[in-house]
Amino acid sequence: MSDTTMTRREWLLTDRPQSRLQARLGRAYVTWRRFTANRLAAIGLGIILLLLFVAAFAPLLAPHSPYIGDLKNARLLPASSTYWLGTDDQGRDILSRLIYGSRLTLQVIVLVAIIAAPIGLLVGTAAGYAGGWIDAVLMRITDIFLAFPKLVLALAFVAALGPGIENAIIAIALTSWPPYARIARAETLTVRNSDYIAAVKLMGASPMRIVLRHIMPLCISSLIVRVTLDMAGIILTAAGLGFLGLGAQPPLPEWGAMIASGRRFILDQWWVAAAPGAAILIVSLGFNLLGDGLRDALDTRSGGQ
């Protein structure tokens, strides 16, 4: 193999990358290959992409207004050619609400992920690396939050901050970081005494630098996996808060709130709750599959050998 031009695949898979970019892309490509080799994971990714698409083009996709219904004439109708998934108790088109609701679902997921995961990561890695009393104090706080009934905490936060989707998100985020901290800490403990961390230390790196630049990147992948696996739980917690009336404000088409209000009709107009239920199921299934796939793809320990 001398001068023949490399195919793009070979270029990516080469074990002699010529630039930082190529190395990074190559690595991403390998991960991607491993990921897509798992058909279910690809399905999961497809679902998430679909969700993104729907959320982005909601106004174009929705056949009706998600907020305005016809209480008097179009209440609780079954699926028909005008209302593909039927109507809810305010006479609104369920499909349109689901489509618009995808935005809220995304918002919940993304915000929780970017609030809870970094808190957990920071607390966990700092505790794990520092050890000693810092570890003791941080872990005590984590334990208290863990030992605290999650719902009480979430309810209290929402009650204190006022209802609304944003506050529900904050509440969920604040109750879901402790497990991440635990994971990050455990991970940190295993790498803390490794030679490559000792090597960085021997370069004269400050503890801050070691945690931020060398330890955190190692914990992130398992954290990402865990977060994607928790997504279903997060959507459901939001739904649970909605069930207790502390989630999204009406008339926002939040899926959990839709189920919560639709459950009253479950015996006769089952589709009112079933449609958002199925949507939640599909999306969280998507995230779960994605998370599973990511685990297999990112986990070099069991995935590689």
């Binding site: 305005i68 209480l71 305010q90 209802p163 609304g164 009406p250 209000s261 009253r264 015996l267 006769d268």
Partner: protein, 516 residues
């Protein structure tokens, strides 16, 4: 299936926090106490403008309207076997006034105080009870008040065995609790049933009182099971695990009414649902806006869907059937008219406002519908959902813009609602009488006076007219958008007979019920 001698009802009984008649002021305990205790007089559920004898056989009112003399039926016994005497009645009144809990005002509004109660509510002899009021109130008002559960006749001997000592303080000058602690879960009455057991949020058991003087209940016991969900209740009713389902929502009610094995029953209740507009909000304080919003409720649609079967559209604040209730529904959903009014108020482009809504049906549904319909006139409503107590806390502090809620009558008399909707003696933030008018900062000195006057009108017809005028004034100017009056419904197994809901919760009598 349920036992033949037991009536099993599923009902959300989590509002029961005490079984002491001097303290209890919520809906479900009113029903328990109404069945387990007897009062001097009872509401006649066949003609709700009248009262019928309870423990008292007969009564007279002195000409000056200040002295009420009750003659007790003879030979009555409490469930414990102790005889019922006028002393028990007097002691019961004294107990209420001295404990001074939430419902005590129903008695103290007649001028009873801790110091004079022993004089004003007095046993002349074993079978004569004399009650002296401070003004010559309409007798219907006084008697109606005495039908409330707070007027329950207590077994003083039994209760006194259970009093707990208390260290007197400035607020509470007595050295014992009048058995309040024990009675929170205990029972010392003489009604057709006795309360056998109460496990909060779980179950309440009534048992036939064999010492009851009147017609003995056909069933040996009535059990209330705490079940919150309408759908769950319906499933249990269909499966025959309960005999009566009490919290049915329209959809489930409809399904049950179509089921041949099941039946439904209903009765209008003295509870009205309304949207109130806080007058502290400058937009809402404009008279045109108040009226405009009354035109922006889609009464028809709500009536035929959200409250179908469980309520009836009613735009006046007195419940149907109460003395002087005005049956008038002048408003219809009319966006054009509303827009016109808004334009007059200088709010052509509408305005934004928040609305506090509790998380219960049908309130949430109505709020959402209202949100849509006012939107058509350009008014943007932001719904702030909240748990009941949370929203209430805010409402009571006058921190809301709009509030949707319900008001149940404290006692079966027009004064109860008139006083709260159309009187506001002191609109200051620290006002002492926090009526609904006060909560919405609606300052109405004339109507307040008129409400007071109606109380002292001893002629029933004249009194009724006065209340009608008050209601009309409310229709025309008040910041209350009345929507509907609650109809209480129950789904029944086919074999349950004679189950009749009363106009009030304390008159949901279960004694006549039989099972085939």
């Amino acid at each position: 299936a349920t036992p033949a001698d037991t009536l099993v009802q599923a009902w959300a009984i989590d509002d029961t926090i005490t079984l002491d008649p001097a303290e209890s002021f919520e809906l479900s305990p009113a029903e328990f106490l109404g069945n387990a205790y007897d009062m001097l007089v009872r509401l006649d559920i066949n003609d709700t403008t009248k009262v019928r004898p309870g423990v008292a056989e007969s009564w007279t009112v002195s000409d000056d309207g200040l002295t009420y003399t009750f003659k007790l039926k003879s030979g009555l016994k409490f469930a414990s076997g102790n005889p019922i005497t006028a002393k028990d009645v007097a002691w019961s009144f004294e107990r209420v006034v001295k404990l001074d809990k939430s419902p005590a005002f129903i008695l103290t509004q007649f001028g009873l105080t801790k110091d004079n109660v022993t004089e004003k509510a007095k046993a002349a002899d074993d079978s004569t009870f004399v009650f002296t009021v401070d003004k010559s109130y309409a007798p219907s008002f006084v008697l109606n008040c005495l039908t409330a559960t707070v007027g329950a006749v207590m077994d003083s001997k039994l209760v006194l065995e259970h009093v707990a000592p208390v260290t007197p303080t400035d607020e509470y000058k007595f050295d014992n609790d009048f058995g309040n602690g024990w009675l929170k879960t205990g029972y010392a009455g003489s009604g057709p049933f006795k309360i056998r057991d109460w496990r909060a949020n779980e179950i309440l058991v009534l048992e036939r009182n064999d010492n009851y003087y009147g017609d003995k209940p056909a069933l040996a016991r009535v059990i209330y099971r705490h079940v919150k969900e309408s759908a769950t209740q319906r499933l249990m009713l269909e499966a025959g695990d309960i005999d009566v389902a009490r919290n049915l929502e329209p959809g489930d009610l409809e399904a049950i009414s179509k089921n041949a094995e099941l039946a439904t029953t209903s009765a209008p209740k003295g509870t009205v649902y309304y949207i109130s507009l806080n007058q502290k909000n400058p937009n809402l304080a404009k008279p045109e806006v108040r009226q405009a919003l009354k035109y922006l409720v889609d009464y028809d649609a709500i009536g035929s869907t959200l409250i179908k079967g469980i309520g009836e559209i009613r735009q006046t604040y007195q419940a149907k059937g109460v003395l002087g209730a005005l049956d008038s529904n002048p408003f219809t959903f009319d966006v054009a008219k509303a827009k016109e009014l808004l334009e007059k108020a200088g709010l052509k482009d509408g305005f934004s406002v928040t609305m506090d809504v509790r998380n219960t049906q049908p309130v949430t549904g109505i709020a959402e519908s209202f949100q849509q319909t006012v939107g058509q006139a350009g008014v943007k409503v932001e719904i702030i959902p909240g748990d009941g107590k949370q929203t209430l806390t805010k409402y009571r502090a006058r921190n809301h813009d709009m509030y949707i809620g319900q008001w149940g009558m404290d006692y079966w008399d027009p004064n109860s609602n008139a006083e709260t909707f159309t009187s506001n003696p002191n609109n200051a933030d620290d006002g002492t009488v926090k009526t609904l008018a006060w909560r919405n900062a609606w300052d109405v000195p004339e109507l307040t006076e008129k409400t007071k006057a109606a109380l002292l009108e001893r002629d029933n017809d004249k009194r009724a007219t006065m209340y009608k005028e008050l209601q009309q004034a409310a229709l025309d100017t008040s910041p209350f958008v009345l929507i509907f009056q609650q109809t209480e419904v129950a789904g029944l197994r086919g074999n349950v007979k004679n189950y009749k809901l009363g106009p009030n919760f304390d008159s949901n009598f279960v004694a006549p019920v039989t099972k085939e």
